[in-house]
Symmetry: C2
Subunit: 338 residues, 2 copies
């Protein structure tokens, strides 16, 4: 199993990226291809006290870096020797089994679509993070790749999310919910109404396990394993969760530093609190899968540290191991709405 | 100041509703009109150990109750003697200054629009809860009255939210943000793009204080005082916040009951934790204002207890006192998009 890592993408690149990739290699035995400025990467490896390139680690030189000033939609076309464009080229050519990048979402999306391509028959690739809930987690699809969606896109997201939940989260017949502003079938905009009809039909035909409209708060209580929505709404959902989690964590900090008694209390439960914080953090899961592409692509959070990258590499290895892309190809004909 | 209270609306009606209304009357000196089945209301008052109707409390009999089986859009038309329809009639006729109901959102919305009417020139009424954030709170408008919106609706929501923030939250030149999936002006769907242009123009003309696109997580950090969005997205945002808050609170409960040490720790910070929980709860604020109606209408949470109703009555009194509806009428000509 060989994972291609964009060593130059992300706020903490290349240091934390290289370090996280090496950690994953060391702990789980995957091979790594580090893509980026060779000198910079070697400097990080030297800085880690490693005299030579560890076994199973390869460097592929790429002179350019996609940064915040680049137009995401055109970045991989204009910067052909960027770490991300080269990494996607390697993935397309079979020089690795999956790709991890903490770079710009837009650039990853266009790179994956232009260089590696979507599975034939898939209308749109979708970003699918696993959101922590009382039940372990659910797959949110789409969380921001497609601001505007048709019912057909959402219909396909349901299938792609199901496959991901089956193969990577190891769930049998995952429960698919449609994100809505109420549970009644008459709820939502025409997009939700139309999607509901399509998903209901697919459920009746035994193609997916559709459990109806789901509200965000119920998804957090474990009401479904896959939550389908357009990318605009999914993005708002994700950022709302992040916002509330950080608000509560900052309030807790204030509570625990109130006086010596509360500080004492904080010491007692320090470990549990760190675990809770980690559980609520996007980095704990590793990254967000980009579904619908012919090869597994994992987008790590822009602020990823070594720990997050190491988790993302493991997640990519799992997606490649279970052959999620072939699974999608094998059922894509069932994903047609007509 | 006289507040009309729908005594029969809500999961805990009439007991908690009547009790909350009486509490507000007792503590803040407002007069109350309780609308609903007279016998039921009197029984609650007797149950509170009160021999006779306290001064400033009036009962207006209404024989019917709108329940979950009624179609919200037609309920007030079909049940003319329901507590909600009668309450709205009293408000229209000037028998009270504002209305509070914990009944069905849809029935409140259609009752307010059909019986009390929108301010002339306002396209759609909107639900505007105050969401707790690091800055005290922001007004979210719309959180669910209008699933489908045009840019003109959103434009008007910005003005209505501003007025509410000024008059009820006492903020000078409140900062208005447009909810989006990124801060760049090119973000979002055509709805956000078109709304951005309108709001920017209104800002340049000095009509509102538009601070641009805002992500949900930044609104939670205090980036704006008014957050404008369509009702579908606003509803998802609200329910996502609720979902994350209850997930973390349940995780904290687990942490604190782990062992005797953590239980001991819990005792120390018990008071602060209850305060935090209350702060994150929708009931602490009282209710959600329905903006754009000629008289103040406050929708309390369906699960409201006496405390929540008492807060909602105070909020209604504040909206009536500051004459928010007249304020809206006075600027409605400026809310035209052409």
């Amino acid at each position: 199993m060989k994972i291609i890592v964009d060593a130059m993408g992300g706020d903490k690149a290349p240091g934390e990226i290289v370090s996280g990739a090496l950690r994953a290699a060391n702990e789980s035995g995957v091979e790594i291809v580090l893509c980026g400025r060779g000198e910079d990467i070697l400097r990080v490896i030297e800085g880690m006290g490693l005299g030579e390139l560890p076994r199973g680690i390869e460097i592929v030189d790429a002179s350019e870096v996609i940064d915040m000033n680049d137009d995401p939609a055109n970045a991989v076309r204009l910067k052909k020797d960027s770490s991300l464009a080269v990494a996607f080229g390697l993935l397309r050519d079979g020089r690795g089994d999956a790709l991890v990048s903490a770079g710009s979402t837009g650039a990853i999306l266009s790179g994956a679509t232009l260089i590696v391509k979507r599975v034939r028959g898939v209308r749109r690739a979708a970003l699918a993070p696993v959101i922590p809930n009382t039940n372990g987690g659910f797959v949110l699809v789409d969380c921001g790749a497609n601001s505007e969606c048709t019912a057909e896109y959402l219909y396909q997201f349901a299938f792609m999310g199901s496959i991901y939940a089956e193969d990577v989260l190891m769930l049998k017949t995952p429960r698919v919910g449609l994100l809505n502003n109420g549970v009644e079938r008459t709820k939502g905009t025409p997009l939700q109404l139309e999607t509901y009809t399509l998903l209901e039909k697919a459920d009746q035909e035994g193609l997916i396990n559709f459990v109806g409209n789901i509200e965000a708060k119920d998804a957090m209580k474990g009401a479904c394993d896959v939550l389908v929505c357009d990318g605009f709404t999914g993005n708002v959902l994700l950022k709302s969760l992040e916002g509330m989690a950080s608000l509560i964590i900052s309030e807790l900090k204030t509570i625990f530093s109130n006086n010596w008694r509360s500080k004492f209390s904080a010491v007692i439960i320090k470990k549990s609190m760190s675990e809770l914080k980690a559980k609520m953090s996007p980095d704990s899961i590793g990254g967000t899968a980009l579904l619908g592409i012919t090869k597994p692509v994992i987008k790590a959070h822009g602020s990823s540290d070594a720990e997050a990258i190491s988790n993302a590499v493991r997640q990519a290895a799992k997606a490649a191991e279970t052959n999620i892309s072939s699974h999608l190809e094998s059922i894509v004909t069932r994903m047609k709405t007509e």
